[in-house]
């Protein structure tokens, strides 16, 4: 059972992400670098948020839900801040690449970088959310986690005690609820990707509205997870949010219904340019 849960949940959580990476990112070295850089920025934001939470817990002397809420909100805001920092860095990189290339265009566009960095934020945030649970679900001893955090037992204990319907849902009551977590992770990965695209576009065009909406929807998504043991209320709206954000990102990136139709019908648009060939060609000067 352990292996089935492990592979199933891993596939659910990271299937889309893995497909996106394999199909669009893995082949291009520049994109892989942007992927790793994005992950680094997310980690920095997490570090800052944890520091903030830790300090606040130490100062207040107790650990309660209000502080956690504040910590989560701070984490969201810091993530968006780091996304902005990532944008700045990538923008500079784009300009640098454009300067250095022969024809004045950089080999990777800012939109591609927006997509890849959003994807990287999604992947690393999803991984951090779920990997310990996955490892736990793979069965005792196999993965060799030494010294579990005490919370996992509490969580699984809660899950066990919570009621039959959840156990039926997962098929096994002895581990933390893997399946809803996996779905949430998948939604989160996709959401981050879409937010990345929208955010960069809004920054590029200096539209505060777009920025505000991204931050707002991130806070909303995070807030919805507070309803979490009540999965209908959290999973459903989050998936709806994912869908809407996806459509918005698609529109931002220049997509439209016509594009989709054209793509589906595999039509090739004739090039509007005339290509001139000459036997004597001077190598292009810069």
């Amino acid at each position: 059972m352990g292996a089935a849960v492990f592979f199933g949940c891993a596939a659910i959580a990271f299937g889309p992400a893995a497909a996106l990476v394999l199909l669009t990112v893995a082949a291009e070295p520049l994109r892989v670098i942007v992927l790793v850089a994005g992950a680094f920025f997310w980690l920095l934001s997490l570090l800052a948020a944890s520091l903030l939470w830790f300090v606040s817990v130490q100062l207040s002397g107790r650990e309660d839900a209000a502080l956690l809420l504040l910590g989560a909100a701070a984490a969201v805001l810091l993530q968006e801040l780091c996304r902005f920092a990532c944008f700045k860095l990538l923008k500079k990189a784009d300009e640098g690449l454009a300067t250095l290339s022969e024809d004045g265009r950089s080999p990777i566009s800012l939109r591609q970088m927006a997509y890849v960095s959003g994807l990287s934020f999604g992947i690393i945030s999803g991984v951090f959310s779920i990997v310990n649970i996955l490892a736990d679900s793979a069965g005792p001893g196999t993965v060799g986690i030494h010294g579990d955090s005490p919370y996992y037992f509490i969580t699984s204990g809660e899950a066990r005690g919570r009621g039959r319907e959840e156990e039926e849902e997962e098929g096994s009551g002895s581990e933390a609820p893997c399946l809803p977590t996996a779905f949430l992770t998948m939604a989160l990965v996709l959401l981050h990707t879409f937010w990345g695209v929208i955010f960069f576009d809004a920054c590029e065009r200096r539209r505060a509205g777009g920025l505000g909406l991204v931050v707002g929807s991130h806070l909303l998504a995070s807030g919805l997870t507070f309803l979490n043991p009540w999965y209908e209320a959290s999973l459903g709206p989050i998936f709806i949010l994912t869908l809407c954000t996806g459509l918005w990102a698609f529109g931002t990136a220049g997509g439209s219904f016509r594009n989709v139709l054209k793509c589906l019908s595999c039509k090739q648009e004739p090039e509007g340019r005339v290509v001139l060939y000459s036997a004597l060609q001077v190598p292009p000067e810069e």
Binding site: A37, A39, L43, A49, W53, F128, V131
Partner: protein, 458 residues
């Protein structure tokens, strides 16, 4: 140490690789700088990619054959081509190093997480004599610092010894030493590793089979590393021996000592490579003066070398399938003596760039590579492996360290492209790795655990 050779060092030849091949970078250095002014501020991927590819300098490959034939020496065109090519190749080289480093780390982490042997405490090396079993924190800290001092001194002594041997041309001694090291790694450590893995998975294997397997593995490894072999096989062997060495370190270094040693060795690396009288720098410079390849094996090279016949484009003889890498001829510095393996590992970090030699016709297809010493692989894997072994069973810490190391490597390659000379690969990565390890283990883990227990997502 990562290095490319600096063009300006070997300017004796009028017709050197600089004019003949596009790999030359030095002449356009001013123009690079100019081009860079515009985008200077971003220590961005732009520079990184551009630069990372650009640094190969003329190399003192054995024979120094360069394609003297008919080079279109139009400096401008060459420069542009170089710029364009370095841009194209720069990011690729970063990935060419990401992949082996990642593979090595995956092997180490997978072993640590599954084979109990490497996390059990079974004594310590003689290089770290002080035990950490003391009750008081101060005593433990003191012991780990003392262990570090001893270890680093051993490393320094070994490196200096090696540099002296090299300076006084005792090549046979060095070769013998290196062969002994690889023998021990490829046979003894592999045997132990295989034994432990079989024990973990409760697989029975009889001695004759074991003998045949180990013999084949080791013999092919020796040939690939010290003589000739397919490039990818050689790379695979180098990754495996780095992983084995890292596992030995993870097992036998006590906890606090390991962290202090990692910190100290990055400082040592920084000094040994950059200070004018640093042993590694002297080694590299001596090799460059003598126009000699440094020692075979134990520097991981990511390049593909096309064996080239100078005058005739013999396409039948050449081609992508023929990626042989002449280990013996290449300038790779490799200071590893498994008998004193632990101390030596650090040295295996001094690369000398070897540029593949190609003829003009193959300009487009030449792939140049960047070299990374095996000591770097080893210490990266030690850091990630220790994180996997001791971080309260948390995968987040391991992943954070992994990302940190990759980013450090990226930045180092960027600096390499900027400075175009041998650079230490440890400091930036290890610093990031250590920062991320301690902060993730102590700050992020409680936060994420609390969030996870309430099933909150951020």
């Amino acid at each position: 140490m990562i290095t490319f050779m600096n063009n300006s060092d070997s300017e004796e030849e009028p017709c050197n690789e600089r004019t003949s091949l596009m790999s030359a970078e030095s002449p356009p250095v001013p123009s690079y700088q100019d081009g860079l002014q515009a985008s200077e501020a971003g220590e961005a991927q732009a520079h990184r990619k551009r630069r990372a590819g650009s640094s190969r300098g003329p190399n003192n490959t054995a024979g120094g054959e360069t394609s003297g034939s008919g080079v279109p020496v139009r400096e401008r065109a060459l420069e542009n081509e170089e710029e364009e090519l370095t841009l194209k190749y720069g990011a690729k080289h970063v990935i060419m190093l990401f992949v082996p480093v990642t593979l090595c780390m995956i092997v180490v982490v997978a072993t640590i997480k599954s084979v109990r042997f490497y996390t059990e405490k079974n004594g310590q090396l003689i290089y770290t004599p002080f035990s950490e079993d003391t009750p008081s924190v101060g005593q433990r800290l003191l012991n780990s610092v003392l262990n570090t001092i001893i270890m680093i001194s051993v490393i320094i002594v070994m490196t200096v010894f090696l540099v002296l041997l090299y300076k006084y041309r005792c090549y046979k001694f060095i070769h013998g030493w290196l062969i002994l090291s690889s023998l021990m790694l490829l046979f003894l450590f592999t045997y132990i590793y295989l034994g432990e893995v079989l024990k973990t998975y409760n697989v029975a294997m009889d001695y004759p089979t074991l003998f045949i397997v180990i013999w084949n593995f080791g013999a092919v490894g020796m040939i690939c590393i010290h003589w000739k072999g397919p490039l990818q096989l050689q790379q695979a062997y180098l990754i495996m021996i780095s992983a084995l060495m890292a596992l030995v370190f993870i097992k036998y270094l006590p906890e606090w000592s390991a962290w202090v040693i990692l910190g100290a060795i990055s400082i040592y690396d920084l000094m040994a490579v950059l200070c004018p009288k640093g042993p590694l720098r002297m080694l590299v410079e001596t090799a460059q003066e003598r126009n000699e390849p440094i020692f075979p094996a134990l520097i991981y090279s990511s390049a593909m070398m096309w064996t080239v016949g100078m005058a005739k484009p013999d396409t039948a003889a050449r081609g992508p399938s023929q990626q042989t890498w002449d280990a013996a001829e290449d300038g790779r510095e490799h200071l590893k003596s498994p008998s004193h393996a632990e101390s030596q590992m650090s040295e295996a970090r001094s690369p000398v760039p070897t540029r593949p030699v190609t003829s003009l016709e193959e300009l487009e297809e030449e792939e140049r590579g960047v070299k990374l010493g095996l000591g770097d692989f080893i210490f990266y894997s030690v850091l990630v492996g220790k994180a996997a072994a001791t971080a309260s069973g948390d995968w987040n810490t391991t992943l954070a360290c992994f990302v940190a190391i990759l980013i450090g490597l990226c930045l180092t390659l960027l600096l390499l492209a900027v400075f175009k000379k041998a650079l230490p690969a440890l400091p930036i990565s290890i610093t990031f790795g250590l920062i991320f390890y301690f902060s993730t283990d102590n700050l992020v883990r409680p936060f994420m655990d609390t969030l996870a227990s309430h099933q909150l997502y951020i």
